[in-house]
């Protein structure tokens, strides 16, 4: 019986095995001979409460071990099947391949691993919040292409109001303006049944044009309007003293904490509350929700507005959470990457957060590798983690399913 069942999965496992073997061979051939000396990863600073020794890895040997491991896992998968674990094994395989890559790049040098992980979290923030905004609105079946614009609006408002009235006020204003754009999107697509993609693109273009204009015409002249205070990192007592984990998770600014807390809250809201159940019903089968007396339109308005508020908060990160100054188009497509994180995260808040962390890791990896002066142009390096992500998503995550009514307007009779 199980033999019959597994035919298709067996093929998939074989492919996975093949990928791992190929990866192992590539690493052995190209990376191992080119990694003389030891790679030193700094884990803590000398001033830390509990300093931990550096992680010293012999380059060539480590890489050979990784490639051997990859080959072993690949061969096992290829020959024995074991479909149930193939996704997990692929994930582990990719993770150690990335580790081998890092060791190769660091061989003979040293660099701060903790610093890179810390940067990973920071860079994941806008993507995670963008993804979360996507989850909130697509769960009620409104496709939100406008997240990029909402992030930008949040960044701009944060800088402007922050400069005039302080960080807290700037943050509140950013959230409010994000929410306003969410409300506008809801009005356009729910009440006026405008095409959801067009409405989102409209918001993006509108915000980009308006903020660019003001920043080039007004901020140039009145610099004081674009000079907001930045939220500093807040150390969580005791926990921030833990080695590695402390600086990475417990010594960050409110945006990082906010992303984690919001992902948790959104999970609770969507999957454990009455309103969340209704919201998901509206995204899956609006007519059924309607026949049960759930107001489909109002549910969409509320959720899309909340999504806008989350995006506004994420947008404020660009200014109040990092440089304190607004630049034209400074969100640089993070809203769209957030949408990718939402899909990779299977329309789940925590999934989106994890996916955003992978992207954040990619981002900070690229930055660190550029510092390490590897022979590969950094643009190419930056691509590798994305490719890995796509493999992980295709192999590990599998087929994700969007809410059934996603993107479709609901028309009451």
């Amino acid at each position: 019986m199980s033999v019959l069942l597994d035919k298709a999965r067996l093929r998939q496992t074989r492919i996975t095995g093949g990928v791992l073997i190929a990866l192992g061979v590539l690493i052995a051939v190209f990376l191992a001979p080119d990694a003389p000396g030891v790679a030193t990863f700094r884990l803590s600073r000398p001033t830390d409460v509990w300093p931990v020794p550096n992680l010293v890895v012999p380059g060539g040997a480590f890489i050979y071990v990784v490639s051997a491991l990859l080959a072993f896992m690949g061969v096992r998968l290829f020959l024995k099947g074991g479909a149930r674990w193939s996704a997990l094994i692929l994930g582990i395989g990719l993770a150690i391949a990335v580790a081998a890559f890092l060791v190769w790049a660091t061989a003979g040098k040293s660099f701060s691993l903790t610093g890179m992980l810390q940067a990973t979290l920071v860079r994941a923030v806008p993507i995670a919040l963008g993804g979360l905004a996507g989850v909130l609105s697509e769960r009620v079946a409104v496709v939100n292409i406008g997240i990029e614009g909402m992030l930008l609006a949040g960044a701009f408002t944060g800088a402007l109001v922050g400069s005039l009235a302080g960080g807290i006020a700037g943050l509140a204003a950013a959230v409010a303006v994000g929410g306003m754009f969410g409300f506008i999107l809801a009005a356009l697509v729910v009440t006026y049944r405008m095409d959801q993609i067009i409405a989102g693109v409209f918001i993006n273009l509108f915000v980009l044009g308006l903020t660019s204009y003001i920043s080039s015409q007004v901020f140039q002249e009145y610099r004081a309007l674009n000079n907001a205070p930045v939220f500093r990192a807040i150390e969580v007592p005791f926990l921030s003293d833990l080695p590695v984990i402390g600086p990475v998770f417990f010594n960050q600014n409110i945006f990082v904490y906010g992303a984690f807390i919001l992902a948790g809250l959104a999970t609770y809201y969507l999957f454990h509350t009455r309103l969340g159940l209704r919201a998901r019903a509206v995204g899956e089968h609006p007519r059924a929700a309607d026949t049960l007396g759930i107001n489909v339109y109002r549910t969409r308005y509320i959720n899309v507005t909340m999504a806008g508020m989350v995006a506004g908060f994420g947008g404020a990160w660009f200014t109040l959470g990092s440089v304190g100054r607004f630049d034209e188009g400074m969100t640089g497509g993070r809203g769209f990457i957030g949408l990718a994180a939402m899909i990779f995260g299977r329309w789940h808040p925590v999934g989106a957060l994890l996916a955003a962390l992978v992207f954040g890791f990619a981002d900070s990896l690229q930055q660190k590798l550029a510092l390490l002066r590897t022979p590969i142009p950094s643009e190419f390096l930056a691509m590798a983690p994305y490719i890995a992500t796509i493999i992980v998503v295709a192999g590990v995550v599998g087929r994700a399913r969007a809410p059934a009514a996603d993107g479709k307007p609901y028309v009451k009779e």
Binding site: R280, E284, A288, D290, L292, G293, E413
Partner: protein, 503 residues
């Protein structure tokens, strides 16, 4: 609670679905509502349950006029409806679907699923509606989904229950159980509106019958004084011939040969277990069985929509076990799917588009890469006319047709082509008596032209009316075979075998 509809008119653009309807629903009484496909029954009930605003007219509850601003108001007023097309969220569990809209909650709006589960269990015990509260809807057979819908209405403790064709997908045993439920609800003082196309059912369960034709009430009566032919005539406006005329049984060579077929369900359980059967040209083979015994998987496997785990399907000497649905289609195999809305049509497409879903890509409808829409529309109009698909025009969205007319649309598309073999699941689900007779005649005509036909229906009467041979399916196997040309059929005996007596 007494509900009165006064002078209700409902228009959809130019279409008048209800015209000046007056109807009274009394507590403790079952009101049977009868009418042809497209007569306006569902529309009228959707007005009553607050889903549609009436164009004209008023609703009175206990002599007080009420206006429903959406179904929520109607539910609060005590009116609940089981819709003809289920209103269940496919990815939610049974318990989540049941409580949706009236959820038990704890602090912080926390969804109290434990209570929900317990409530479902209590209701399913009280009324004998067995369901697993944690099952995900999309994995359940339609018969079970039906039970979930009923539990949903009961959970809202409605005083008026509108049941729109609740028995269309139930087996005879399930119907008996269902009637017990209806009776006990009546005794509890609830008012029931019962819509069905099955005349014997309506005669059995109703206290009063109203007949609706082309949007108007054309008559009412006492079931004790009415007979089936009278009702049928009231419905369609002329006498209906119930008997299927059939030519003598003259089977030819084997056209479909299924050998040792094993098919799995989505989650790996065995749906069809080493099943073999043969169908000859010029015969109708009917598969009888209680729903959930693998019939759906059999149809899907033969139509190419479900992977065959092992075994062989041979069509006219060619191995078709693993070929695509389109290739099968090109060989002349027609497929009427069990669930018209899920697999039969695309709701947002027009009637004409739906009519050519299977043939748009080749002549005569396609010229190179473009579609000859004039041809498509003309052809669709002709077929719709021939099969009596009641639609304002071929440009109407399929989703706006009445349930029975959607079914006729699917059947028309599949049978109007040149076919050699027909696989049909519940071909007359939701059709009125006139339409059933017509579809049966079409199936019979296909047989007499030399097609092989494999028909699955949970309606034993239908299977007995059309089949040349009857195979009974139980737990994924064929457990018995009957042939009316060899020995007369015994409905009671077949019913027992369906329930597993022979296994």
């Amino acid at each position: 609670m007494r509900v009165e509809l006064k002078n209700i008119t409902k228009r959809f653009g130019p279409v008048i679905a209800n015209k000046g309807v007056n109807l009274t629903i009394e507590p403790g009484e079952v009101l049977g509502l009868l009418g042809e496909n497209g007569a306006g029954k569902s529309t009228l009930m959707n007005v009553l349950c607050g889903l549609y605003d009436p164009t004209e007219g008023e609703i009175f509850i206990d002599d007080k006029p009420v206006v429903f601003d959406g179904p929520g108001d109607a539910i609060r007023a005590g009116i609940g409806m089981v819709h003809q097309h289920f209103m269940l969220v496919p990815v939610f569990s049974v318990a989540e679907n049941v409580v949706l809209g009236v959820e038990p909650t704890g602090a912080l709006d926390h969804l109290d699923l434990a209570t929900a589960r317990a409530e479902v269990e209590r209701l399913s015990e009280d009324y004998g509606l067995a369901v697993d509260p944690d099952a995900i809807i999309e994995t359940l057979p339609v018969g079970v989904q039906q039970r979930v819908e009923i539990i949903k209405v009961l959970f809202r403790s409605a005083d008026v229950l509108i049941l729109d064709e609740p028995t269309a997908v139930l087996t005879p045993q399930e119907v008996d159980e269902f009637f017990q439920i209806v009776r006990s609800l009546c005794e509890a003082g609830k008012a029931i509106v019962f819509i069905t196309h099955k005349l014997n059912e309506i005669l059995e369960i109703s206290d009063r019958i109203s007949v609706i034709r082309r949007g108007e009430i054309v008559g009412s009566g006492d079931p004790k004084e009415l007979t089936r032919p009278e009702l049928a005539e009231m419905m369609v406006g002329h006498p209906v011939d119930f008997d299927v005329a059939r030519a003598p049984y003259a089977p030819r060579e084997v056209i479909l040969d299924v050998a040792d077929l094993t098919v799995l369900r989505d989650h790996g359980a065995v749906a069809i277990d080493n099943l073999s059967l043969k169908v000859r040209s010029g015969e109708i083979v009917g598969i009888a069985g209680v729903q959930g015994n693998g019939q759906s998987a059999l149809i899907e496997a033969l139509a190419g929509l479900r992977r065959v785990a092992s075994g062989r399907v041979t069509f006219d000497g060619t191995d078709i076990t693993h070929i695509s649905p389109r290739a099968r289609h090109r060989m002349g195999i027609a497929h009427v799917p069990e669930d018209r809305q899920r697999a039969g049509l695309i709701g947002n497409f027009t009637v004409a588009e739906n009519m050519v879903l299977d043939t748009y890509y080749g002549p005569p409808f396609a010229k190179g890469a473009s579609i000859d829409w004039g041809r498509v529309h003309a052809d669709a109009a002709r077929v719709a006319e021939e099969y009596d698909v009641r639609t304002p025009s071929v440009f109407a969205a399929a989703a706006h047709l009445s349930g029975g007319n959607q079914q006729k649309l699917v059947v028309a598309r599949e049978l109007s082509r040149d076919t050699r073999f027909v696989i049909a699941g519940q071909p007359t689900r939701g059709l009125d008596v006139g339409s059933i007779a017509f579809i049966h005649a079409q199936l019979m005509a296909a047989r007499d032209e030399g097609d092989g036909l494999l028909i699955v229906s949970s309606e034993l009467d239908e299977i007995m009316a059309v089949s040349d041979r009857i195979l009974v399916m139980f737990k994924g196997r064929i457990v018995a075979e009957y042939a009316p040309h060899i020995a007369p059929l015994d409905k009671g005996e077949i019913g027992l075998v369906m329930a597993g007596a022979a296994a």
